[in-house]
């Protein structure tokens, strides 16, 4: 097919020019603009209220300027975040704002330029000699913002802002280069599927391209089902055009006429922004007859309905065809026999978002980003007990220690690191001794974890490894589609065993049984849900076996998480006596004041172990503790109404 490149180039240049002019108005020398981080985490932290307060205050103080919504900078721990541009100052980023602070910011800084609210300033985005720079913070300076380059710096609902910051440049290069050259460039870049498996993208594309059966289809896998991961959500909410651009390039390379984005129903905001992006891209002729070049491609957004297994490519195709999302046997692979029996390429959100940039800046640029054998960047969603949680983008091949400690500031409240869970229900828990493992596909697999989609949940000493393993098995067991016997029944058996162990009813032979079952499930399952389901248990057994043994032999949960093995106890020597915080917090009225010593006592027969009293106890007393095993629980006075003569406490 001969493309009308001249027309495409002209059309694109006109678009970019229009975008540049609009951006100039926003970002010009004299313009004041305020950008509120409004991705899901920002909104949940109160961004909407902050935005409202900013608008009201700017009107009240007659500040000329605009309040805009933007995506996520990745610093979820600091939300709500706001970026402020005011003439005479560098762009300033504020953290942890609330409506009152937002009003103060407008009144004292935007209106008069007097007080830039230094206490809530994270840093300045550009070099200057007044304010500390963001780049000097490890959370910015040590990151490589490639995929996140535009995230949090423009309004994702405005295609012109994305264009002004370089979106769709790669598409133009791709149109000029043609399918073969696109695939060659992607191959030189060494891009691998970032959904978890790491299959070379160029090889997949070529296989599809070479398939003579027509038409070809493209699916963007945005079914980020892994609990604890949110990279795809953030990308879709913050820079949807990067994903669309990637899809158009992939379509051009593979000869696909129609594309689908299969996105989780649990991400309503991502769906909304993506829909708007598609609409705007159609209006500007980036979808449809692409830039008038004669190459035609359109995208349809399909919402998932809440099934983890649909993230598996063959299950996703079943679901897209309107059936139960049960995986098919591979081969034939989707590039041979995919959606509706047609050759289909399925790529993850991050993989596609990379292609636009690779086409724009070249394969070499992408390769250079990685360390060692890794190419490009790795995008991780950090959560759990880590201090500065959020989205982190680092060169592929950085070590876990760099990500967790150097960039994200280690563990909250100075507690002890215990493990990091990578790859969700398919991955594993790695201990401190493996923190120097580089993050790339192969090294992580060797360590017993998996790159997976990129979720990283950090655990500290207050987390129980046995219970965490049980949690993942509970998840995969519930999400097993039921097609393969070993996955369906095997995970059930493993879960039963783990539930016995956390109740303190396990026996040592159970550990061997778990390992045997794990092998059977790995070998007897069709898809990766089953094949990787035992990973969290196996890695926990490999690195934290002593905790399993403690649960079995001593009935002890050292983290105090397993309810059946743990009791709450109020230390008499620490209890303030006069204070009633715990009594008031208890939802089941299990705490009473001992008539004799006036201390607070927990009635163990009523306690539901809800943790309310421990949270309510003022820090200066810190009298509520968890005790495990139960045999170490000191004898307490019985509650007054049940006290009889023969139960008189011996104290």
């Amino acid at each position: 097919m001969k493309l009308d490149l001249q027309r495409a180039r002209k059309r694109f240049e006109a678009l970019v020019e229009q975008a540049r002019q609009r951006w100039q108005q926003l970002d010009g020398e004299q313009a004041i603009s305020v950008w509120v981080g409004s991705a899901t985490c920002g909104l949940a932290a109160g961004a909407r209220e902050v935005e409202q307060a900013l608008r009201e205050a700017m009107e009240q103080h007659q500040v000329p300027g605009q309040v805009m919504r933007t995506g996520c900078l990745g610093h979820c721990y600091a939300e709500p975040m706001v970026l402020v541009r005011r003439p005479g100052f560098p762009s300033l980023v504020y953290h942890h704002l609330n409506p009152a602070l937002a009003q103060a910011l407008v009144k004292n800084f935007l209106a008069s330029g007097e007080d830039p609210l230094l206490e809530y300033l994270l840093g300045a985005a550009e070099p200057n000699d007044m304010f500390p720079r963001l780049e000097d913070l490890p959370r910015f300076g040590q990151e490589t913002r490639w995929l996140l380059g535009r995230a949090g710096r423009h309004d994702p609902d405005d295609i012109f802002q994305a264009l002004a910051l370089g979106a769709y440049q790669g598409l133009l290069r791709a149109l000029e280069a043609g399918p073969q050259a696109i695939i060659d460039t992607i191959e030189q870049a060494g891009l691998r599927g970032l959904g978890g498996a790491g299959f070379p993208t160029a090889r997949k594309w070529r296989l599809c391209r070479d398939n003579p059966r027509q038409p070809h289809l493209l699916v963007c896998n945005a079914d980020e089902g892994d609990p604890g991961a949110y990279m795809d959500r953030t990308l879709l909410e913050s820079d949807p055009h990067a994903v669309l651009e990637g899809m158009i390039i992939a379509a051009l390379a593979t000869g696909a006429e129609h594309g689908y984005v299969y996105v989780r129903a649990e991400y309503p905001l991502a769906v909304e922004r993506l829909q708007r992006a598609v609409q705007q891209a159609r209006q500007q002729e980036l979808l449809g007859d692409v830039l008038g070049s004669g190459f035609s491609f359109d995208v349809e957004i399909v919402r998932g309905a809440g099934a983890f297994v649909c993230g598996e490519e063959t299950a996703m195709m079943e679901s897209l065809e309107g059936r139960r999302g049960m995986p098919r046997v591979r081969p034939p692979y989707p590039v041979e026999w995919g959606l509706h029996g047609l050759p289909t390429v399925i790529d993850n959100v991050k993989t596609l978002a990379n292609t636009g940039r690779i086409m724009d800046r070249g394969a070499e640029e992408f390769r250079k980003l990685g360390i060692g054998e890794g190419n490009g960047t790795a995008l991780f969603a950090l959560a759990g007990k880590v201090a500065n949680a959020g989205l982190v983008e680092v060169p592929m091949g950085s070590t876990l220690r760099q990500v967790i400690f150097d960039i994200c500031g280690g563990i909250q409240e100075g507690r002890q690191f215990k493990a990091v869970q990578i790859g969700g229900p398919s991955g594993g828990c790695l201990p401190e001794s493996l923190l120097d493992t580089p993050v790339d596909f192969d090294k992580l697999r060797q360590a017993g974890a998996m790159m997976g989609s990129g979720g990283m949940v950090v655990l500290d000493e207050q987390n129980c490894m046995v219970e965490t393993a049980r949690f993942f098995l509970e998840f995969t067991q519930a999400e097993s589609c039921g097609k393969c016997t070993f996955c369906r029944i095997g995970t059930r058996h493993m879960l039963d065993i783990l539930e016995r162990i956390v109740r303190g009813e396990g026996v040592l032979e159970d550990l061997d049984r778990l390992e045997r079952l794990a092998v059977d499930i790995q070998q007897g399952s069709l898809c990766n849900l089953g094949r990787t389901a035992p990973n969290p248990v196996l890695s926990a057994l490999r690195y934290f076996r002593e905790e399993f043994i403690e649960h079995i032999e001593q009935k002890k949960c050292r983290a105090g998480v397993c309810n059946e093995l743990t009791a709450y106890y109020i230390l008499p020597e620490k209890c303030a006596r006069g204070c009633d915080a715990c009594v008031g917090s208890c939802p089941v009225e299990a705490i009473f004041t001992s008539p004799k010593r006036r201390i607070k006592v927990i009635d163990q027969s009523l306690c539901t172990k809800c943790d309310s009293c421990r949270q309510a106890c003022p820090e200066e007393y810190d009298a509520v503790v968890k005790i495990s095993p139960l045999s170490e629980l000191p004898k307490s006075e019985p509650p007054p109404e049940r006290k009889t003569a023969d139960q008189e406490p011996s104290s």
Partner: protein, 178 residues
């Protein structure tokens, strides 16, 4: 209960306006979005339209976690049970909701006011533990925050019911305390 004519009319309209090109799951999602759950009449109607047996449609609907087969509450609470929430004691949040509402997860209170469900992960892991209340993500949940939210809802309800000035002041107090 919705009346079946309205359900069938909605499905007809949905299919006419492009729904026929899309798949069964999309149609089920559309019905649920409109009525809050999947009424049996709707599933039977869709079975006819898609030339499937009702059992087949029910099989598809029960496969996916999103679908509900009973009407939801007026207020719906989804407690996130993702990994990050789990390690920050989401199960205790769920327990507390169950205790406060006196229902089990998956149920609706007898007065139809509250529905309680679990969700696999809403991707808001840095604010764990998280609950989604009537579509709004609420981060950093705690048992005392639940009590505060419930109190606020209760006060709002009383005010709506015309309980007058007293309830309104009490509500303000409730908010101030949060």
């Amino acid at each position: 209960m919705e009346d079946s004519a309205a359900i069938e009319a909605f499905i007809d309209e949905y299919l006419e306006s492009g729904g026929r090109e899309r798949n069964l799951v999309c149609a089920l999602l559309a019905v649920q979005e409109k009525f809050g759950y999947l009424p049996p009449v709707g599933m039977e109607k869709l079975a006819g339209e898609f030339k499937l047996s009702p059992a087949n449609v029910y099989g598809v609907a029960t496969f996916y976690n999103q679908f509900r087969f009973k009407p939801p509450g007026r207020h719906n609470i989804h407690v996130c049970m993702g990994t990050a929430c789990h390690i920050k004691q989401a199960s205790k949040i769920l327990d507390h909701f169950e205790r406060r509402l006196e229902i089990k997860v998956g149920e609706v209170t007898p007065d139809g006011e509250y529905g309680l469900e679990r969700v696999a992960c809403v991707g808001c892991c840095t604010l764990a533990p998280v609950a989604v209340i009537d579509g709004e993500v609420v981060g950093k949940m705690s048992t005392s925050k639940i009590d505060g939210l419930m109190l606020r809802h209760q006060m709002e309800r009383e005010r709506e019911n015309g309980a007058g000035k007293e309830a309104a002041t009490a509500r303000d107090d409730g908010e101030a305390r949060e």
